[in-house]
């Protein structure tokens, strides 16, 4: 057999197993003078080299359960009752009840069922008396096991150390004792280990030659901490926005309909406002959180555009926001510097009352950017988009017209994905309808969309639900693709 270089840990394990051939892992660690973790690793190395064999055995242990731990002196309640009756003679039921508390009922049931005690009525009072001592077993069923557990401070003790039927009678009762099955690993040397030189020089442990290790051996994976892959993409997007001159804002997830729909000119009878598409909350309506002037403007815009009455009560219902536009728009309209130049963005969860599928979630993350400055144009908006995607590593971009109720004109950006071999729809964009931003100095460019779609391209994920499955294997292993 070829010469094998062994680590000091491996040598210690081999020596120990040569003096005692079959040991549990825990015992082996002790006898070889290693920590449990060292022993575990050493055995794993030896197993890979075919020098050690590992077998597993199961052991059933029992310990006191929740109710068992509450028993005074770990004594079965029926034994407690019998002791009182045998020492103190027949007694009235209420007295016993006071002495034993809630355990009395259980104890009484058992002793009566087994004929160890009887009750009789004396002048309207119920008196309990014990059966003659010869009719009461010296050891009640389960008592031997309870004593063994009491001796071991509640356990665990091996199930094999007690009488099975005795134990069985306890296991039938609720949470007196619990049973746990543990698996133990036993290590022994393989035949091949017989010829291995396991000698080592204690004094030179770790030294150049004697301490040399098999650097080619497999080692266990070190667990890695990690930010969520989706959060990594979110951070990247945040970074890009900030470097492009945008300031981040955040706002409430729960919004009145007014800001989620009405302020964006979504007609009050629009299908998207129905409960099939939007999550309404079972809470009292809050205020609109708008100025009277703005509320009037919006009310009038609804009447003029949609030829229908506008209902303030409907606008006060609370919803989980269906987009982050409400956050950016509120900031523009409500911030004192609303009339200055502003580039702001917001990132956050949005909600749609949809059945989830590989491409739809009921709750996902949206990013939304707005530009309020003189000379903003659609071409400029397209430029910002193209630059944004370029920085994200998505260089092939084009724009198609589309429709959004609150932007005019409206476009959507498409990026080409090599892996899928097709154009993928990403962010929507446009200039806010003048009704939406009345009161501001300039027309407002706006765009936004779901972040998960970008993350799907970046990680090559085809089922969007994976981002919220919290599967550790997936989270630890998800890798960026370079063809995104």
């Amino acid at each position: 057999m070829p010469e094998m270089v062994l680590h000091i840990i491996e040598k210690k394990i081999i020596s120990s197993l040569r003096s005692e051939p079959h040991q549990s892992l825990g015992r082996l660690a002790g006898s070889a003078g290693l920590s449990l973790d060292q022993a575990r690793r050493g055995v794993e190395w030896l197993r890979h080299k075919g020098l050690a064999e590992v077998s597993e055995s199961e052991e059933t242990a029992i310990s006191l359960g929740k109710n068992g731990m509450r028993l005074p002196h770990t004594m079965l309640p029926e034994r407690q009752l019998l002791d009182m009756l045998l020492k103190g003679g027949p007694q009235e039921m209420p007295v016993l009840q006071d002495n034993m508390g809630p355990l009395f009922g259980v104890a009484m049931g058992i002793v009566k069922r087994n004929g160890w005690a009887a009750t009789r009525s004396e002048k309207g009072r119920i008196v309990v008396s014990a059966a003659p001592p010869k009719d009461i077993p010296g050891m009640l069923p389960g008592e031997a096991t309870m004593r063994a557990l009491a001796g071991a401070e509640g356990g665990p003790i091996s199930a094999e150390s007690v009488d099975p039927s005795d134990l069985e009678s306890l296991l039938r009762r609720p949470e007196l004792v619990t049973k746990t099955v543990t698996k133990t690993k036993h290590v022994s040397l393989s035949e091949a280990a017989g010829s291995v030189d396991a000698s080592f020089d204690e004094g030179r442990e770790g030294g150049a030659k004697a301490g040399a290790i098999d650097v080619g051996a497999d080692v266990p994976a070190a667990p890695r901490g990690r930010r969520h892959p989706l959060k990594e993409v979110i951070s990247e997007i945040r970074e890009i926005f900030v470097t492009m001159g945008f300031s981040e804002v955040s706002g409430s997830v729960v919004q009145p309909c007014f800001w989620n729909f009405d302020a964006l000119l979504t007609p009050q009878d629009h299908p998207s406002r129905e409960m099939q598409d939007t999550f309404y909350l079972d809470v009292a309506p809050g205020g609109l959180d708008s100025t009277p002037a703005h509320t009037r403007r919006i009310s009038k815009a609804h009447r003029d555009t949609w030829h229908q009455k506008w209902d303030a009560a409907e606008a006060g219902r609370m919803v989980l926001r269906t987009h982050t536009t409400c956050v950016t728009l509120r900031r523009l309209l409500q911030s004192p510097d609303a009339l200055g130049d502003a580039r702001i963005f917001s990132l956050g969860r949005v909600f749609r009352n949809e059945k989830t599928s590989y491409k739809h979630l009921a709750e996902f993350t949206q990013v939304e950017g707005v530009v309020h400055e003189a000379g903003s144009t659609i071409r400029g908006l397209m430029g910002i988009q193209a630059e944004f995607y370029r920085r994200l590593g998505l260089p092939k971009v084009r724009f198609w017209p589309t429709f959004f109720p609150y932007t005019e004109p409206s476009f959507q950006s498409m990026v080409y994905n090599e892996r899928l071999g097709k154009w993928v729809e990403l962010f929507g964009m446009g200039i806010f309808h003048p009704h939406v931003t009345r009161g501001l100095k300039h027309p407002v460019l706006a765009w936004g969309g779901g972040v998960e779609r970008i993350a799907m391209l970046k990680y090559g994920v085809d089922d969007v639900r994976e981002f919220y499955a919290n599967n550790l294997g997936l989270l630890r292993g998800m890798r960026r693709r370079d063809d995104a």
Binding site: G225, H228, T243, T402, G473
Partner: protein, 597 residues
């Protein structure tokens, strides 16, 4: 968004028609479809499935799409003439609405389309258009419902009467062979069950009767079998009923232009009674400033460039009166009645962009005039992420809209009445039905999904939790009496599951996290406490002590309870079949002052 499948062969024919012999190829068509705002869902070279925007129901048929393609491809530009013959000026109304329908469904309008040919394909397209209009503009037939009839089969002839009849009124409805009463129709037919509720609650039901008293239609539920449109029908009578005259006339115009483009000639019908009128089918004039269009789009179009863009969208710019003199850049544009989506100037700016060709609009990048900045919360979150990831934690993301099972049942709490939770109304999935008030229950549930993964397992999450009752968000402009019914807080929670996990580890990790996220002038205290997630005797209430002014105006040395730490109750773990012990914490972040710079 609505979807329709079109055949390239038909599209080619329709688009090339009237193009003076130019034959348009399917490549040109498929390349231009997206630039009309139509998303291609599927394209096999013979058929193409497109998704169109709900504001353009005229795209529900291939004739409608062809009209737009003709414009964009330059085959035929300018307006699509409806050429609807006017009703005889002094003739009697041919549809009369009676007072009885006023309280139920007051509006009726209609048109006659004659001399067309209806093949199987066109018939199906018309039904698609009708259904789409019912769904969108018609709000599920509540606002508007459309009936198509074979005019030659209206046996009692005109004038028609729009009136209300009793539930016992009988006729043979479409797709049936026997006479049925209205009550039977509402209970016994698919359409009756779907739309009966729209007119239920009234004793009488709206109906259109012909000159002989025969039933033509029972809007918005069903037509009569008598007037069923089939392949081979040459003359179609269209009725539109509803509660909004605006919406009814819009829908009528869209059906009318489709029938016109399909080869029918249109005749307007005199309509009266109540507030009803003969549909004007008029174009509207909306002015658009070319300067404004250029300003918004970033283009340098001349007035005539812009006018030709509008013509490519099948609109009708009115030629500029040069005698008016000066540099008038405003184009008065005539908008046909089948384009109700065009309401104001910005809508025409969009049309100019569309007609110009979106593919020709080049992006331009100009430098930013502002400097970007992170939200303070993001900075704190980054610090927390760094600290926890550094200690080997993996970040989890759970939904904010969770459920009672995870939040209560499995978390050692009794499920409270609805008035104490924040529930979503009529959620489509039970999984997403209650807003979370804490993060830890989600993380423990996550552990239970990973019992086959390697241990140690360490998970954390930062996220919003929701509480009933108003607490004004920082920076909100709300007045105190206008507080929202729900308040939101940012929390961080972490849990570690492995054989040696315990309270000390949880507290130690928490200290490091708060040290990273919070000014180091503060100190953490833990005191014994009870909490449903943690084992009794292994749980602490966590407070933070602000020693100096780092709390931003908070009193010095004041103690703030920010959350709990402890060993997860073994009963919770065992209910989840988690076999290793776990410990963790959850604290609230808004109460935590930001780390000193």
């Amino acid at each position: 968004m609505p979807v329709v499948e079109l055949s390239y062969e038909r599209l080619e024919g329709l688009v090339s028609r009237g193009g003076g012999g130019t034959r348009v190829s399917r490549d040109e068509i498929s390349e231009k479809l997206p630039y009309l705002g139509l998303d291609i869902e599927y394209d096999d070279g013979d058929a193409v499935r497109i998704e169109y925007s709900p504001n353009r129901p005229d795209y529900a048929t291939d004739v409608g799409v062809s009209l737009a393609l003709q414009g964009l491809l330059g085959v035929r530009m300018g307006p699509v003439p409806l050429d609807a013959a006017p009703p005889a000026p002094s003739g009697p109304d041919r549809i009369v609405a009676r007072r009885q329908v006023a309280g139920v469904r007051p509006v009726i309008t209609g048109i006659m389309a004659r001399g067309g040919t209806l093949d199987d394909h066109m018939l199906r397209q018309l039904v698609t258009l009708q259904e789409d209009l019912h769904l969108g503009l018609g709000r599920g037939r509540k606002k508007v419902a459309i009936g198509l009839h074979d005019a030659s089969k209206i046996s009692g002839g005109f004038p028609l009467t729009y009136t209300a009849v009793s539930a016992g009124h009988r006729f043979v409805p479409l797709n049936e062979t026997k006479e049925m009463t209205i009550s039977q129709i509402i209970k016994g037919t698919k359409a009756g069950r779907a739309y009966g509720h729209l007119v239920a609650g009234h004793e009488r039901f709206p109906a259109i009767l012909d000159g002989g008293g025969n039933t033509v239609s029972l809007p918005p539920i069903i037509n009569s079998a008598m007037t069923a449109v089939t392949t081979g029908t040459t003359d179609i009578f269209v009725d539109v009923t509803g509660v909004s005259q605006h919406a009814a006339e819009d829908a009528l115009a869209i059906v009318a232009v489709t029938l016109r483009a399909a080869g029918f000639s249109l005749e307007r019908i005199g309509i009266g009674g109540g507030r009803n009128r003969t549909p004007p089918l008029e174009t509207r004039t909306i002015p658009v400033s070319v300067g404004r269009a250029n300003e918004m789009l970033g283009l340098g179009l001349s007035v005539s460039d812009a006018a030709s863009c509008l013509e490519r969208c099948r609109l009708q710019p009115v030629p500029q009166d040069s005698s008016g003199g000066g540099q008038n850049d405003v184009i008065p544009c005539l908008v046909p009645p089948y384009r109700p989506d065009i309401v104001s100037e910005v809508d025409l700016v969009e049309e100019i962009a569309l007609g110009y060709g979106t593919w020709r609009i080049r992006p331009v990048l100009s430098p930013s005039k502002t400097f970007g900045a992170y939200d303070a919360a993001s900075v704190t979150h980054d610090a927390i992420d760094m600290a926890l990831v550094g200690m080997g934690y993996v970040e989890a993301l759970n939904p904010g809209l969770s459920n009672a099972r995870i939040l209560y049942e499995m978390a050692g709490r009794r499920t409270p009445p609805r008035s104490r939770m924040i529930s979503a109304v009529d959620s489509k999935s039970r999984e997403h039905s209650v807003l979370r008030d804490s993060l830890l229950p989600g993380l423990v549930e996550n552990l239970s999904r990973n019992i086959h993964e390697e241990y140690p397992q360490k998970l954390y999450e930062t996220g919003t939790v929701f509480l009933r009752g108003g607490r004004r968000a920082a920076g909100s402009s709300k007045r105190a009496d206008d507080a929202p019914p729900v308040s939101e807080r940012m929390h961080v929670a972490a849990v570690a599951a492995h054989t040696d996990s315990g309270f000390s580890e949880a507290k130690s990790v928490l200290q490091t996290v708060l040290g990273a996220a919070v000014s180091d002038a503060s100190e953490i205290r833990t005191a014994p406490a009870l909490h449903h997630m943690f084992a009794d005797g292994r749980c602490a209430k966590v407070s933070i002590i602000i020693r100096d002014g780092a709390g931003g105006g908070r009193a010095r040395g004041r103690r703030h309870v920010i959350g709990y730490a402890g060993e997860i109750d073994p009963a919770i773990l065992s209910a989840y079949r988690i076999r290793v012990p776990a410990a963790g914490f959850e604290v609230s972040l808004p109460d935590v002052p930001p780390a000193a710079a």
